[in-house]
């Protein structure tokens, strides 16, 4: 259409919204006991966690600090700490 009609957008345009600004707690991935189970990747509601080879991290642009990854990590390799900005 020659004139835009404000009714659809392309995929994944939400990434301009840096929800990392919301958090008060931030997950610290210790990379100490990690066994690559990837539960942290699976359970993040914001699809923030990625990595490989026992080194995983949260994307701090988007991490809201909900704490689910730390709570669910079976080897206690993630700790929630008060973020100092």
């Amino acid at each position: 259409m020659s004139k835009p009609i404000l009714t659809s957008v392309g995929p994944g345009t939400s990434k301009v919204n840096k929800t990392g600004a919301w958090r008060t707690l931030v997950p610290v991935f210790k990379h100490d006991a990690c066994n690559d189970c990837r539960i942290c990747v699976q359970v993040c509601p914001d699809a923030c966690v990625s990595g490989e080879d026992s080194v995983y991290n949260a994307n701090l642009d988007f991490c809201k600090g909900c704490g689910i990854c730390a709570y669910e990590c079976p080897v206690d390799d993630i700790e929630m700490v008060l973020e100092v900005k």
Binding site: V9, T13, R38, V43, P45, A47, E52, I68
Partner: protein, 307 residues
């Protein structure tokens, strides 16, 4: 390093989720987690119709969209019917086998205002997987009571007060209503057990005909608990017997998740949630908890959840 921490066999790289970051769900949102798990289990060859509600509102404020699959939102009560139109169109184009159709709605959009269209979809057995994200109230509009709000739950339209312990009706038996339509596959699932959920999504999408997943998704805001505990709370709902995990095929229960070894009293589930705190301040409250325990016991008996 211990045995446990030795590197596992090579895993494929982590790929971007089909419900990506930047959406406006509350921190720790069970529904966002549930939708992400559903999308990733389904894969990119899908079309999704979603009802008005938290999921739609937090994921698509123009011009931002967190969805990376073809996705449409129409109204509150018609995602099932819109999905039926998508399915019919794909059929007309000969694409039915290549592209799967998913309809999504909350407990309100599915069991209350949307139940008419849902029943039509099930009765016609159109090949759509309907996922009901049950956070047990109309959350997006401010935690009002729905037909799936459990007994004695405080919501803003069924508040606890001097003369009330909250919602006085049990959850509408949604899965039974759905299963009574004799569809190929209907199941409950929960974000408490993510692998089970994803397995069920794949199973449902492999069926030809209407399928349904009733997905329990805790809400940190509406249920008033600490956001880190979303999955724990979801597990407790199962372990108490309050949210049975079952599969129903063609109207008959074929599988249940037994809680024999992990059974918990309902207090363990109710105590951490602010929406039940009115039950813990008096002797009368204790009696109400006993009633809730009776509901759990009835579920356990009905589905044989404990050996």
């Amino acid at each position: 390093m211990t045995e446990l921490t030795k590197k596992r066999k090579e895993k494929p790289p982590v790929v971007e989720s089909l419900l990506t970051s930047g959406h406006r769900a509350c921190a720790g949102c069970g529904e966002a987690l549930g939708a992400k798990l559903v999308m990733d289990a389904a894969g990119p060859n899908i079309m999704v119709a979603t009802s008005t509600g938290c999921l739609e509102v937090f994921s698509t404020p123009y011009p931002e969209s967190a969805w990376r699959v073809p996705w449409i939102h129409s109204l509150f009560e018609n995602s099932s019917a819109v999905a039926c139109g998508i399915e019919a169109a794909l059929r007309a184009r000969g694409l039915k086998d290549k592209v799967k159709v998913i309809a999504q709605g909350g407990d309100g959009g599915t069991a209350d205002i949307g139940i008419g269209c849902l029943s039509g979809m099930l009765e016609r057995n159109q090949e759509v997987l309907y996922v009901c994200y049950d956070n047990e109230a109309y959350m997006n509009t401010g935690v009002q009571r729905s037909g799936l709000t459990p007994f004695d739950t405080h919501t803003t339209t069924s508040p606890s007060g001097k003369y009330s312990f909250g919602n006085q009706r049990p959850k509408k038996p949604l899965l039974e209503i759905v299963a009574a339509h004799q569809i190929p596959y209907a199941a409950t699932a929960t974000v408490g057990y993510p692998n089970d959920l994803q397995m069920k999504v794949k199973k449902a999408l492999a069926e030809s005909g209407a399928t349904f997943i009733h997905l329990h998704v805790p809400c940190p805001l509406g249920w008033a608990y600490k956001s880190e505990a979303t999955i724990e709370i979801a597990r407790l709902a199962v372990q108490t017997g309050l949210f049975p995990i079952i599969e129903i095929k063609w109207g008959k229960v074929t599988r249940v998740r037994k809680i024999t070894k992990e059974r918990r009293p309902v207090e363990d589930y109710l105590k951490p949630q602010g929406r039940y705190r009115h039950l813990f301040v008096s002797e009368d409250g204790k009696k109400e908890i006993e009633k809730i325990q009776a509901i759990a016991n009835a579920n356990i008996e009905k589905y044989g959840l404990v050996d």
